[in-house]
């Protein structure tokens, strides 16, 4: 029975992804989506697998081979996260090394029932943030220069126009990916970090607030400004590639 519900739920989720609607209220589809997700969540097995529990147990008993296994199994995932956050391969590798050293020291505090991957994700994000903070970065752009301006009557000073590029076309275009990455790198650090954690690592706003020691509202404000600034940086290039 539960398998059938699960299959139907997965199918509905796959074909019924809620999209932001512009011209009508999207609440019903979002509510349906939340309801299905709730049902699926109650059916899916939660918590770490037996393999993971066994690995944790070996790690906590000081088994060196288990630690090497941890590095080889979870290392690629951590390196992927670090590469997204850091601007150079060397910094990414250093952050991963810092993360594993930190994990090695604190594995004794790892609580049974937690997800090892989630725990390691947080550790590598923190290691990358520490490295980012310790690095002196080049002079930053002033984000105010990239925020939209308005006339006294509330209209945009410069009308927005459609782009001729999209994330789909970008997959094939290395120069567009480089442009987006370098634009992200030009965001002021306080904004870039929030964009990294929210839009790239997809952490919840309150979790980002906790990591950065700021309010959830400050996270939301910084994220919106970072997206606006990034959009403004990309705008001239995305318009320019007219077909």
């Amino acid at each position: 029975m539960s398998e059938a519900v699960l299959a139907v739920g997965c199918w509905v989720l796959a074909v019924h992804r809620p999209k932001p609607r512009i011209r009508e209220h999207p609440a019903p589809s979002t509510r349906l989506h939340s309801l299905i997700r709730l049902v699926l969540t109650s059916l899916l097995p939660m918590g770490p697998s037996n393999d993971e529990a066994s690995l944790v147990s070996r790690l906590q008993s000081g088994d060196n081979a288990a630690f090497e296994e941890l590095v080889r199994v979870y290392g690629p995932r951590l390196l992927r996260i670090a590469r997204r956050m850091m601007q150079s391969e060397e910094d990414a590798r250093d952050a991963v090394q810092d993360a594993f050293v930190s994990a090695f020291k604190s594995i004794g505090k790892f609580e049974a029932g937690s997800q090892l991957s989630t725990w390691l994700h947080r550790i590598v994000v923190n290691a990358a943030l520490m490295r980012l903070r310790s690095k002196r970065r080049r002079p930053e752009e002033d984000i105010e220069d990239y925020l939209p301006r308005f006339q006294e009557d509330g209209h945009q000073v410069e009308s927005s126009v459609a782009w001729n590029e999209s994330a789909d076309t970008m997959i094939e275009r290395a120069e567009l990916r480089d442009l987006v990455r370098s634009s992200i790198d030009h965001l002021p650090e306080t904004y870039r970090v929030v964009l990294l954690l929210r839009d790239i690592e997809e952490l919840a706003a309150d979790e980002v607030a906790k990591i950065l020691g700021i309010t959830t509202n400050a996270v939301k404000v910084r994220l919106h400004r970072a997206r606006q600034a990034l959009r403004a940086m990309l705008d001239p290039h995305m318009r320019a590639h007219a077909r």
Binding site: F67, E68, G75, P76, R80, Q97, L176, R181, Q228
Partner: protein, 82 residues
């Protein structure tokens, strides 16, 4: 957010993230939708704002199939073989 009976481009764009996250109260949301029906510029702003988020995700996707051996060695040297 002001409680006026309509929204302009400034309010639409200032609260765009809240609107997209479904965090604008229902009555106010209706006003945002009314504004989008008459303002092509804000429609394009919204679309390009969403595209920016998608591009951010795509541009930062990186594939790592296995750990570079020298990195594994460096980590094990820094921990087990101290």
């Amino acid at each position: 957010m002001s409680a006026s009976a309509s929204v302009d481009c400034r309010e639409m764009i200032t609260f765009l993230a809240d609107y997209l996250a479904n965090e604008v109260p229902f009555a106010r949301r209706r006003l945002f939708e009314a504004h989008l029906r008459i303002c092509d510029s804000c429609v394009e702003y919204l679309k390009t704002y969403e595209e920016t988020i998608r591009m951010t995700r795509v541009a930062t996707q990186v594939e790592v199939e296995e750990m570079p051996e020298e990195l594994v060695k460096a980590i094990l040297d820094a921990t087990l073989r101290r």
